[in-house]
Structure formats: structure tokens, C-alpha cells
């Protein structure tokens, strides 16, 4: 059972929850950029939390179903259609062999997720199906590819996400920051510059990192001895600008870090366009742990 790729789109990647346990050999975590939309897509289909999905960035993608399937599309509104008819997001839809699935207009958000009942069965590299282009692990979809999946249609269709969970990807975003790493080494004035401004997402923004533009933090310490990077670390470059390190980031880095963005806020960031305003506020680690634990429990993440 599979989909045939008619148009690959700007950037369409098979991703799962991520690649773990091998960071000491330099392998990035990789995995989906927006864990919120991804987890809902699998959850609606009663899939395993780690089942692989298709992450479609900016659209331009068209697939043809070669067999019947139950699917859910979540995340960005990229004008998802079946056979040229608009379809709802955030709910289970049954498709039939021969149907054409397309994402052709960027209405809201950046990344759409296509999950299929049973998950996509792309090749596993080092315990994960996630593609990481920076590491040359796997490759993006190209025209003519076939992406296969395991299950046939599910009988429990029409599962939909309750509408109060629906995210708004158009709003400016406040990212909650945990005081980690070198937080204490930034002085009061530097922290004021950081927390009291609205940064702008620059065009240096991909799955590896997101560079922000704004008023620079003066006299930031330059390079330091490289150390392990966690997902969401906020490096301050020598010029004083923040870079938020994301899923495909290298495992080590040598800029001082003012803190780490709470993981669930990185899901919000993943749907923001270049030019969106971003600000930061401090968050307590115990609260972050509680919220993430509740998220993990809801989506049965082990």
C-alpha cells in the first residue's frame, strides 16, 4: 500500500518522533519540527506516537493514493484538497485508491503533517525513519517516489480534534525560556535587552536553527569551549543575536547560551513565517516538566 509522489513540493520529508541514543556519536535528534501537530495526527488515527509521517513545508506537494487509506492532515493550512475539493484538517479522512491529495496554497502556518493509519514505512536509519538533510541521512521526496504504509483503512473514522485545541499560527509568539547553561553569566543589562524586545524571525531559518534579528546584546562573551546542545538552546552569537537550535542542529556548539526554549513552544515556532515577531519570557523548570509530562501522558509518549 502506498502513495505515489506526483509533485514533491518545496520540501517534503518523512519524519518520526526522532533519533535517540546516538548523540554521543554526533547524530542529531532530527524528527518532526512541530510535535503538537504531529502527535495529534498520529493520535487521531490511533497510531503509535513514533509512527512516521510526511512533513510538508510550504506545500506544492501532490500525491496519488495507490490504495485505500485512512489519513489525518494537521498543522499548517496549505490548502489541502482531495481531487480538487477542499478538506478539513485535524480529523480522520478515508481516501480511496486513485484519489489525488494536494497542498497548493500557503494559507496559514509553515508545515503540514500527513499521517496515515499504521505509519509510513520508509527506511530506518539508526533506529529512526527521520530524514536529516544536514547529515545526509535519507532524502527529501522527489517526483516518482513511492511512500508505502502498513495498514488499510480504519473503521474508527471521523475522529476529529476538539476545536478548542486549534492553534492560531498567525499570532506573534512568546517563547517560554528556561534559565539553563550560561544564563547566570549574562548580566542584568544583557538580560533586559533580551527579554524586553520583540525580535523578528530572519530568513536564516530552517530545521537546524532559527536566527532572530533585533537589537544586539552588547559585549556577549565570544566563543567558548564547545559543549552538548539540547533541543531549543538559545545561542547568542558574537554579534549579539540569538539563534534557537532546532531538531537537525549539531549535537555540540561553541556559543554561550542564554537559556533553552520550552519544547512545546518550539512546536509553535515551527509554524511561524519569516518576519513574525518573537519575544521571550522566563519559565520555571518544574512547571515545564509538569506541562511536558502531561503532554507525554496525553499522547502516550514513552
Amino acid at each position: 500500500m502506498s502513495f505515489n509522489v506526483i509533485k514533491s513540493g518545496f520540501l517534503s520529508l518523512v519524519e518520526d518522533y526522532g533519533r535517540f541514543g546516538l548523540a554521543q556519536y554526533g547524530l542529531s535528534q532530527a524528527g518532526v519540527a512541530d510535535e503538537h501537530a504531529y502527535c495529534w495526527a498520529n493520535h487521531l488515527l490511533d497510531n503509535h506516537f513514533n509512527d512516521a509521517v510526511l512533513e510538508i513545508t510550504f506545500g506544492g506537494c501532490e500525491l496519488k493514493a495507490l490504495s485505500d487509506a485512512s489519513i489525518a492532515v494537521t498543522g499548517a493550512d496549505l490548502g489541502f484538497k482531495i481531487n480538487d475539493k477542499m478538506q478539513p484538517l485535524w480529523q480522520v479522512i478515508n481516501v480511496s485508491a486513485g484519489d489525488s491529495l494536494s497542498w497548493s496554497e500557503a494559507n496559514s502556518g509553515v508545515r503540514a503533517y500527513l499521517a496515515v493509519k499504521g505509519g509510513f514505512q520508509a527506511t530506518e536509519f539508526f533506529n529512526s525513519r527521520s530524514v536529516n538533510l544536514r547529515e545526509q541521512i535519507g532524502s527529501k521526496l522527489v517526483e516518482g517516489d513511492e511512500i508505502s504504509f502498513k495498514a488499510t483503512r480504519s473503521e474508527t473514522d471521523h475522529h476529529a480534534m476538539p476545536s478548542h485545541f486549534l492553534p492560531d499560527y498567525e499570532q506573534d509568539v512568546t517563547l517560554r525560556l528556561l534559565p539553563t547553561y550560561q544564563f547566570d553569566q549574562f548580566d542584568q543589562q544583557q538580560k533586559e535587552v533580551f527579554f524586553n524586545q520583540r525580535y523578528t524571525i530572519s530568513n536564516a531559518y530552517d530545521r537546524t536553527g532559527c536566527r532572530l534579528e533585533g537589537k544586539p546584546i552588547k559585549e556577549s562573551q565570544s566563543r567558548m569551549i564547545s559543549e552538548g546542545i539540547s533541543y531549543g538552546s538559545v545561542e547568542i552569537t558574537t554579534e549579539g543575536f540569538p539563534i534557537i537550535l532546532l531538531k537537525d542542529s549539531p549535537t555540540i556548539g561553541g556559543y554561550p547560551k542564554i537559556g533553552t526554549v520550552f519544547s512545546l513552544d518550539l512546536a509553535k515556532l515551527a509554524q511561524r513565517q519569516i518576519g513574525t515577531k518573537v519575544s521571550f519570557e522566563l519559565m520555571d523548570i518544574e512547571i515545564a516538566q509538569q506541562k511536558r509530562r502531561a503532554f507525554n501522558a496525553f499522547f502516550a509518549i514513552k
Partner: protein, 227 residues
């Protein structure tokens, strides 16, 4: 002794010192193995690097305070001499020549060394793996003899061929795959370090020792090297 800080909602970083040294990396390598074993039930990833260890853990099973307590207990109750090290010695053949060493000629003239002298200096030393990163299986090796140190290029090259051996300040490394990079390239190894062979991922571990074996062009070609 050591100092633990948060690194995210489910990770902590342990600092063991503030300067890279062979003694410190031996200690970190030892503690990396120890904590990997002792925290096996809750650990997700561990990243050793120069002066620190980053550990991410399963939030569902343990909280920040308890993981720190356990780590402190293990670090305080295990002395580095009590367990045998699992570190290994790895030999890497290298063809040192201007054909493949894109920056060798400039380095020789700047350092006023003959090719033979340069090869002797670079290959006579046993290096330690201080960290792995930048890309998978890219091992940062130290320390390079002061007579052949050189800073990174002012701007990185777009593509450095796989197997290239480079120097950046006091460190040396082999590029496992074709990639961009700013190190001074002094030669090339004919061995395949790419992840096309998945076993290559674990070729190097922090704390391992590395020795470069100079080979001539015939040996380089015989071992599969590309001139």
C-alpha cells in the same frame, strides 16, 4: 569537583573543569561510561565534550531533582581508577601530499618545515578524541604540536572531500563525508568513514586514542584512495 546545571526541561549538563586537558577528557570518558550504565533506566542521550557531559533523561520516569541526586551519588562514590577503561587505540593511514592536502604547501612555507618534518610532527603523536560533533562521526582530536598549529581559514571551503585530514588551531580531524569546512587540509585517508557503512558511526568514541600512519601514494591508491 563538578557542577550540574539544567540544559532543558529534560536534560542537565555536568561541568568537570574549564580547560581541555588529556586528564580531564579521560575523566569525562570514564564518567560517561559510568553514568550510561548506572542511569540506563532513565537516560535518553549523553554527550561528552572537552569539559562537560550533557545528559537527557526520560521525564516520565524521573524529575530534575532526583536525576541530579542520583548523578551526584554515582560521581562521588566512584573513583576513576576503579574501573577499566573501554577506550581503544585507532590507527588511520594518511597520505600527506600537496595533491590531496589543499593547504599543505602554505602551511609548510609558513612554518618553515620540509614535508618530511611536517609528517613526522603530525604522525608521531597519539591524539585523544575530545568530542564528536559538527557532523556524525566527526572526531575532534587533540592536541596538535605547537609547531604546526594554524587557525581555521578566514571563510570555509564549500566542499572538502571525504577522508580529508585537517588542522584547526590545536586540533586535528578527519572529515567523514564531503562537507563544507574551514580546517587547513594537510592530507587524506583512503579509508571510508561515511555512514554508508553504518558501523562507521561508532568508529570513534570520546577518550579513544588515535595514531596517524603516513602512507605513500601507491599505498594510498591500493587502499582505495582517490588522487
Amino acid at each position: 569537583m563538578f557542577n550540574i546545571k539544567s540544559a532543558s526541561e529534560n536534560s542537565i549538563i555536568i561541568y568537570f573543569g574549564d580547560q581541555m586537558s588529556p586528564d580531564l577528557i579521560e575523566k569525562i570518558s570514564f564518567y560517561c561510561q559510568l553514568l550510561t550504565d548506572k542511569l540506563a533506566d532513565v537516560i535518553i542521550d549523553i554527550v561528552p565534550s572537552y569539559t562537560s557531559l550533557l545528559i537527557s533523561y526520560k521525564l516520565n520516569l524521573i524529575n530534575n531533582e532526583d536525576v541530579c541526586d542520583r548523578i551526584e551519588k554515582y560521581l562521588l562514590s566512584h573513583d576513576i581508577d576503579t574501573v577499566e577503561s573501554r577506550s581503544k587505540l585507532i590507527e588511520i593511514p594518511v597520505y600527506y601530499d600537496c595533491d590531496v592536502g589543499l593547504d599543505l604547501e602554505e602551511l609548510l612555507s609558513e612554518k618553515q618545515l620540509s614535508l618530511e618534518e611536517f609528517i613526522a610532527i603530525h604522525s608521531s603523536k597519539e591524539y585523544l578524541v575530545y568530542t564528536i560533533g559538527f557532523s556524525p562521526a566527526f572526531a575532534f582530536l587533540g592536541e596538535v604540536d605547537e609547531r604546526i598549529r594554524k587557525n581555521r581559514l578566514p571563510s570555509p571551503r564549500i566542499e572538502i572531500p571525504a577522508g580529508s585530514v585537517g588542522i584547526a588551531d590545536n586540533q586535528t580531524a578527519v572529515y567523514p563525508i564531503n562537507s563544507s569546512g574551514g580546517w587547513n587540509i594537510i592530507g587524506r585517508s583512503p579509508l571510508d568513514f561515511s555512514l554508508d557503512n553504518p558501523d562507521n558511526l561508532k568508529h570513534f568514541s570520546v577518550g579513544d586514542s588515535i595514531r596517524f600512519l603516513p602512507i605513500d601514494k601507491d599505498e594510498y591508491l591500493a587502499l582505495g584512495g582517490i588522487a
